[in-house]
C-alpha cells in the first residue's frame, strides 16, 4: 500500500482534476449571476419568464426519464442474456459497444434514413399494408427518444452486466431448490441483487441524456428543443454566456435532484445485496 510521499503523488492527478472541476463549477455559477453590470438574478428571472424555456426544461427531464426507463427495459434482459451466455460473451459485448465506434452524428444520420417518412421502416410498413400513410417516427419526441436509446443503451447494459457478473449463481439455484418458482427466484433474489447495477445505469443514462445536443437537433422537430441544444446555441451562436450558464446550473440542479436519491438507493441496495450474498 503506498504511503507518505508516493500516496500524495498518486493522488495528485485526482486532486488536480477535482480542483479544476470545482473551479469550473464555481465559475459557471458565478457567470450565471453576472448581469453585465453587477451580480443579480436577472438571468434566472429571464429564464422563468419564458414559458417555452420552462417547457423545454420539463421536456428535457421527461425525455431523459423515458430514455432511461426504455434503456432499463431493453438493457436488463440483454445484460442477463449476455451474462448467461458463456460461449460468445465477448462477441455479444462487442456488439453492444459497436455503436460507440461510429460518431454520434453519423449514427443519427442513419436514423434519418430509417425513420423518415420515406425511410426503410415506413416503406416496409406501407408495403406490408400495416399502415396507409407513413407514421411520424422522426422530427418529434419519438425520434429523439429512439436516437437517445440507441446512444445510451450500451451504458445501461454494461452497468447491469457488471452487477450480473458479481451475482453468485448458486443463490438463484438455492432459491429454486427451496421451492421458489423461476419468477419468484427472479423477483426475490436476482432482481434485488442486480438493482445496484440498474441504479448505476440509470444515473449514467439520465445524466448523459439531459445534456445531449446532436440527437434532438437532428431527429427532433421545431418544438422538440432540449436544454443541451439551447445551451449550445447560447454559448456558440448568441454568445450569451450568463444565459447559457443559468441553463446549465438549472439543468445540473435537476440532475442532482434525481441522481442523489438514486445514489442513495444504490448504496442501500448494495449493502443489502452484500449482506444477502454473505
Amino acid at each position: 500500500m503506498p504511503t507518505g510521499r508516493s500516496l500524495y503523488l498518486a493522488l495528485l492527478p485526482a486532486i488536480l482534476l477535482l480542483t479544476l472541476l470545482t473551479f469550473g463549477l464555481a465559475k459557471l455559477i458565478a457567470v450565471s449571476f453576472d448581469t453585465g453590470h453587477g451580480i443579480g438574478l436577472a438571468s434566472y428571472v429571464g429564464f422563468f419568464a419564458r414559458p417555452d424555456y420552462v417547457r423545454m426544461l420539463w421536456r428535457t427531464l421527461l425525455v431523459a426519464l423515458a430514455t432511461t426507463v426504455i434503456c432499463v427495459l431493453i438493457g436488463y434482459p440483454t445484460a442477463w442474456f449476455i451474462s448467461r451466455c458463456q460461449a460468445h460473451r465477448s462477441l455479444f459485448l462487442l456488439l453492444v459497444i459497436l455503436p460507440w465506434l461510429v460518431s454520434v452524428v453519423v449514427r443519427t444520420y442513419g436514423w434519418i434514413v430509417l425513420l423518415g417518412n420515406k425511410g426503410l421502416i415506413n416503406n416496409l410498413l406501407v408495403l406490408m399494408g400495416a399502415t396507409q400513410r407513413p407514421i411520424p417516427l422522426m422530427f418529434n419526441l419519438v425520434g429523439v427518444i429512439i436516437g437517445l436509446v440507441h446512444i445510451s443503451l450500451p451504458f445501461m447494459i454494461l452497468a447491469i452486466l457488471a452487477a450480473f457478473r458479481h451475482l453468485d449463481g448458486a443463490l438463484a439455484e438455492a432459491a429454486m431448490s427451496l421451492g421458489a418458482r423461476p419468477w419468484q427466484s427472479f423477483r426475490r433474489v436476482i432482481l434485488p441483487l442486480t438493482m445496484p447495477g440498474v441504479m448505476s445505469g440509470c444515473s449514467l443514462v439520465f445524466l448523459s441524456t439531459t445534456g445531449v445536443i446532436v440527437t434532438p437537433l437532428l431527429l427532433g422537430g421545431l418544438r422538440d428543443g432540449m436544454m443541451g441544444t439551447q445551451i449550445y446555441q447560447e454559448m456558440f451562436i448568441v454568445f450569451s454566456y450568463p444565459k447559457a450558464a443559468t441553463m446549465a446550473v438549472l439543468l445540473a440542479l435537476c440532475g442532482v435532484l434525481v441522481i442523489v436519491p438514486l445514489q442513495w438507493l444504490e448504496r442501500r441496495m448494495s449493502r443489502h445485496s452484500r449482506a444477502a450474498q454473505a
Binding site: 414559458p51 417555452d52 417518412n117 420515406k118 422530427f139 421545431l222 456558440f236 448568441v238
Partner: protein, 355 residues
C-alpha cells in the same frame, strides 16, 4: 599527394554543405519574413474552392497558404481572442460585423487594399468609424429550394406560398439564428417592413413555422432531407445547387419578390501574425480571376465588377450577375446584426407556439 587530394576533396564537400545549409537557412528566413497564411473556411465545396486559388498566389508571392475548415467563424475567433491562430477567414457579414464590434477583427483603410476599388461601394462592410471590415469576395442568395418529386418551381412563385396550409408538415425551416437573420429580414422587406421594423415579416414566418416538419440544424442534414424528399421545400442557399456537387433531386427557385443576398468577406483576426502576408492575400482574393475560379468550383458569385462569368458558369447562373443583383435585397447587415439576439428570442417563441 593522395592525402592532400583527399583533404582538399573533404574541404570542398564541407564547403558545399555549408553553402547549401546557408542557402537553405537564408531561404527559410526569407520565407519566414514573407510569412504564411492559415485561412479559415467552412468545409466541403467551400474549402475546396478556396484551395483551388492558392497556387497562383503562392507562385507569385512565395507565401504558402493553408485552408483549414472551421465549423463557424465566430466561436473560433472569439475563443482565440488575443492569440489568433488564423491569418484570415471567410465569414458572412453578420458574423464579421459582430466580431468587429467586439474588437476581434483587423480593420483596413482603402489604400491598404487597393483592389477594393473593384467592389461596388454599396457592398463594403464598414465599422462605425468608416474603416473596412474585411474584403467582400462573393455572395450567394437565399431562395426556396424544393425536392423535384414533391413540388415544382411554380408552387413557389411567391415567398407567401411557404405559409400555404397545403404544405402543412412538409416544409423545412432554418434554425432560429438564420430565421432571425435571413427569413425575418427578407419577409419584413417583402411586406413593407424594414431592417429595423421586422413586424410585417412575422406572419409569414409564423405560417412557415406552422408548415414545417424539420429544422435546418446542419447543411448536411438538410441536404439529406431535401434530396430524399423528407421535406418538400425549405428556404435555402443557392450555392447548394451548383455544378457537379448540386443536390440530387432538388432545385432552387427565386420567387417573384426576389431573394436575399448573402454576402461573404475575408477578414483578418486582430493581432494575427504575418500582417503583410494577410494584406497580400486580401488583395489577391479581391482580384477577378480568383473570384471566377471560386464561382466555377462552388457557385459563390463574384463581387469584383470585372469578374464576368461566361460559358458554363453563366449558363448555371441563368442570368448575368447584374440582372441577378437587381432581384436580390441586401439589408443593412449592421442593423440586422445589432438586433440578432432579440430576434432569435422572438423566433424561438414563435416556434414554441406552433400547434
Amino acid at each position: 599527394m593522395g592525402k592532400a587530394t583527399s583533404l582538399r576533396g573533404a574541404m570542398g564537400v564541407l564547403a558545399a554543405l555549408a553553402f547549401t545549409a546557408l542557402a537553405t537557412v537564408s531561404a527559410a528566413a526569407q520565407d519566414a519574413a514573407k510569412g504564411e497564411i492559415t485561412m479559415g473556411s467552412w468545409g466541403g465545396g467551400t474549402s475546396a474552392a478556396w484551395r483551388s486559388i492558392i497556387k497562383p498566389f503562392t507562385d507569385r508571392t512565395g507565401i504558402p497558404v493553408r485552408v483549414v475548415e472551421w465549423p463557424d467563424p465566430q466561436p473560433v475567433i472569439r475563443a482565440q481572442a488575443g492569440n489568433p491562430q488564423y491569418n484570415a477567414g471567410v465569414m458572412n457579414y453578420v458574423d464579421a460585423y459582430r466580431l468587429a464590434k467586439a474588437g476581434m477583427l483587423q480593420t483596413f483603410r482603402p489604400e491598404q487594399v487597393p483592389g477594393i476599388s473593384h467592389i461596388p461601394p454599396e457592398y463594403l462592410l464598414k465599422d462605425k468609424d468608416g474603416a473596412i471590415i474585411g474584403v467582400p469576395v462573393y455572395f450567394q442568395y437565399y431562395g426556396i429550394a424544393y425536392n423535384v418529386n414533391e413540388a415544382k418551381a411554380s408552387d413557389f412563385e411567391s415567398w407567401d406560398s411557404l405559409a400555404d396550409p397545403k404544405w402543412k408538415g412538409k416544409l423545412g425551416i432554418a434554425r432560429s439564428k438564420d430565421s432571425a437573420t435571413y427569413d425575418l429580414t427578407l419577409y419584413a422587406h417583402i411586406h413593407g417592413g424594414s431592417d429595423t421594423n421586422i413586424e410585417p415579416g412575422i406572419p409569414l414566418l409564423r405560417g412557415l413555422a406552422a408548415n414545417s416538419i424539420a429544422v435546418t440544424a446542419a447543411m448536411a442534414q438538410m441536404n439529406t432531407l431535401l434530396s430524399r424528399g423528407e421535406v418538400a421545400a425549405v428556404p435555402y442557399y443557392s450555392a447548394r445547387f451548383w455544378g457537379p456537387q448540386a443536390l440530387p433531386n432538388a432545385s432552387i427557385v427565386l420567387p417573384r419578390e426576389g431573394g436575399l443576398m448573402l454576402p461573404y468577406l475575408v477578414a483578418v483576426p486582430k493581432g494575427s501574425k504575418h500582417p503583410a502576408a494577410s494584406l497580400a492575400w486580401l488583395n489577391y482574393v479581391l482580384e477577378a480571376q480568383p473570384q471566377l475560379t471560386i464561382l466555377h468550383g462552388s457557385g459563390y458569385i463574384p463581387f469584383n465588377a470585372d469578374a464576368k462569368p461566361d460559358g458554363e458558369d453563366l449558363g448555371r447562373l441563368g442570368m448575368p450577375v447584374a440582372d441577378l443583383l437587381k432581384r436580390l435585397y441586401e439589408p443593412d447587415w449592421g442593423t440586422v446584426a445589432d438586433h440578432q439576439e432579440e430576434r432569435i428570442n422572438l423566433v424561438e417563441q414563435i416556434s414554441a407556439q406552433v400547434k
